[in-house]
Every structure is written in C-alpha cells, then in structure tokens.
C-alpha cells in the first residue's frame, strides 16, 4: 500500500478541520497543559530544596528521582492503574478511564523531569546569586526565588521538556485512560489505534500535528537558549 493516498487524506482531514480530529488534538493539549500546570510548582519547589538544602536522605532522594526518569511509562501506568482500580486504595474516587487518570499519569511522568532539571539548573547557578540576595536583605525564600529567576531559562526548559514528553506519551495514557473515543482518546493513543486498524490517514494527520508540536517545542528551546546566553 502506498503512502501517498493516506497522506493526501491526512492533509484533507486537517484542512477541513475534521471534528473528531480536532477533539483529539484539543484533549491532548488540554490534558498535557493541565498536568504540567499542576505538577510544575511542587516539582520545582522540591528541586530547589534538593539543590540548596543538605538533610539526611537528600542524596538518596536525588538518586531516586533520577531513577524515576528512566522508568518505563507503561510501568508508571501500571502503578497508577493499580492505585485507581476498583480494588485499589484510590478506587473509590472512580477515576480510572477518565481524563483525570491521564492527568495523574502525565503528572507522574513529568515530575522527575521537572525535579531533575530544576536541581541541575539551581546547582549550576552561581553561588553568589543566593549570597548577594541574602546580603541585600532577602529572606531565605526570597533569595531562593531570586536564584530561580536567575536560572529561569533552565526552569522553562524543564517545563517545555516535560510538556513535550507527556504530549507524546502513549503507554501510560492507554493503560489508565483506556483510549475511549470522545473521552480519553488523545493523539498518541489515537495514532496507535488507527494504525492497528489500517486507517493511516488519521494516524498520519495526528502524527503531523505531534511533529508540529515537537518542532514548536524545539524552536522555543532554541530561542530560550539564545535568550539565556547559551548561544
């Protein structure tokens, strides 16, 4: 089977604004943005804490969060599935196979990315930033915020990276979301489903949108690196 015809159909779907396609794109963007918005503040705060404070178990925590980075997302999906399943500890919340479950999964995937990037950015900050802020009268929290402001390009890079990771995530989304049409079907899960059905047009169309998002993310990153003096 040639690729030309399904690609032509994919462009047609995109150009005429196919309702099903738009719904899937919208759901993907919305769930990814919601997850990143919810998990970023606590993850960044934890990253700052792990980078700036010394306490028992701090090194072990950093190693653990770094290890989470390499966990297969399908395993993360499995853990969340077990937690949210009817017999699981959070079963009474009845979140399994809902958009909320996908958001929780995305948050779990984004968490280590955000923490590790933040630790790296804050540890890489010049020690004089914190000291200067403190000496000019800032409180500990105020000085930590000043450090964050100084490494803002690194922090934004963390957020953009985490967003790029979750919007293209498939394993966890299928496990906890169930790939239900109109409810939890997002771009990656729809691509997997349509391809398995032999309907390549929608898969290619969604693939193009995902690639456009990836390209956009890379452009944003490149711009940030320029802004941050990393040219």
């Amino acid at each position: 089977m040639g690729l030309l015809e399904p690609t032509r159909e994919a462009f047609a779907l995109l150009l005429r604004g196919d309702a099903e396609l738009l719904r899937i794109i919208w759901l993907s963007l919305w769930l990814s943005l919601a997850a990143i918005a919810l998990i970023s503040p606590p993850s960044i705060a934890l990253g700052v804490l792990l980078a700036k404070r010394r306490f028992p178990g701090q090194r072990a925590m950093v190693v653990l969060v770094q290890a989470l980075l390499s966990f297969p997302t399908v395993v993360i999906g499995l853990v969340i599935y077990l937690l949210l399943s009817r017999r699981g500890p959070l079963g009474t919340l009845e979140l399994l196979f809902t958009p909320s479950a996908i958001v929780i999964g995305y948050m779990a995937i984004a968490f280590p990315i955000l923490v590790v990037f933040t630790v790296s950015a804050v540890q890489g900050a010049d020690a004089r930033v914190y000291e200067t802020a403190r000496s000019l009268g800032a409180s500990r929290a105020g000085a930590a915020l000043t450090v964050l402001r100084e490494v803002r390009f690194g922090i934004i890079a963390a957020v953009v990276n985490a967003f790029g990771r979750v919007i293209s995530e498939v394993g966890c989304a299928i496990m906890v979301g169930g790939n239900i049409a109109g409810l939890t079907r997002n771009m990656p899960t729809a691509i997997a489903l349509e391809t398995s059905k032999g309907d390549f047009a929608q898969g290619i169309a969604l693939g193009m949108v995902l690639m456009a998002v990836a390209l956009g993310i890379n452009i944003v990153m490149a711009l940030l690196q320029g802004e941050g003096g990393l040219k």
């Binding site: 004089r128 000291e131 000019l136 009268g137 000043t146």
Partner: protein, 219 residues
Amino acid sequence: MSEILFEASGLARQLGGRRVIDGLSLRLERGQGYVMLGDNGSGKTTLLRILAGLEAADAGVLRFQGEQTLLPRYPDAWRWRAVYVHQHPYLFNTSVTGNIAYGLKVRGERGEQWKRKVEEAIDWAGVREVIAVPPQKLSGGERQRVAMARAKVLSPQLLLLDEPTANLDADGRHRTIELLARLCAEGVTVLTACHDREIIELPEVRRFHLEGGKLAPLA
C-alpha cells in the same frame, strides 16, 4: 569616644584543618572607615563573610548596636543593616536599575521615594551612562560601581567590601577608590579588605592587619 557600632569577640573558624580565624576580636566605631590588610589566604574574606552572616563561624560572639548573638546564629534583621559586596560582584540578570533597586524592593519600598533613592544612587556611582547596558556586558569597574550603588542605596550601617579594586583596570580602580573615599567621608562605617596601596593610604581610614587568625591595629 565614638559610639561602638559593631563588635566581634572570640571568633574562630577552622578550614581544612587550619585555624583561619583564631580567637579574633574586632571593634568598629560608627561612621569610621577601616581597611583590613593581610596576605592571600590570611582569612580576610572569611572574616568579612562571617561578619555578614554568609559563613558560619565555629565560635564567637557578635554585637551589633549592643544587640548580641552567639555564632553560628546570625539574626536575619542584621542583614538589613550590614551589606557585603563580593570581590567580583554578581549582578542579577535584570537591568542596572533593577539591580540597584533590589534591596529596596526586598524592604518593601515603593513609589516616588523609591525612585528618587535609585536615581540618586545611579548618579552617586556614576553609572548613568551604562544604565541601558545589560549587566552581564558591563566592565569589571562598572560592575563594581553598580554593586556599590546597590549597597549604598540601602543606607547600610555597616558596609563590608572585599577587595573592591582587584583585577580592575586603571580607570575602574580609580573610580572605585573615589567612591570608597566618598563613603568614608559621608560617615558610612566601611570595612574593606584590600591590598591596594591607594586605599590603604586613604587619610580617613584606620588600618588593621590580619595575621595568624588575629587582627592587629596598624599605625
């Protein structure tokens, strides 16, 4: 006799098995300029950082306007009175004005008075011509003057300067010394660690020598 602003006694700090500060005592009078000399590695920076609460001491007592603290505890309120300027000052990645205004914002100052103070500090340090230049692109001398303006704008009771003319070109050095002399003449209590002969010979200052972890006055 002049009023004692700041006192330290029994200061001790060990670094890498060496007693850098060893039972040191210090007494600073209000409105007086001081210069601290000493060889490289004699502990000048360590002492300034302890006095600014940026580095813990192993032992010692500090008194600021009669209020006493037992180190390593350093009251946060003192950070609004004593300001330390690094040998190579860090300027925040904002504007020159943003840097000078930082401490005032921390203190919750806003409005016309805030603007006036920042403008005065800009003129005082002679940095108006570089006000639109990104701080990271300023020369060493300009950075030092912005950092001094950033400290001066807060009207600190004690200003701690660490080698303010180190690695500056002739012009930067000359203008920095000029600012330091003006600070002393304006009655700001300044303690400067330096090797610069021109600073050491400023008529308004008193001189200390740091050796063997202790301070000794110099004639």
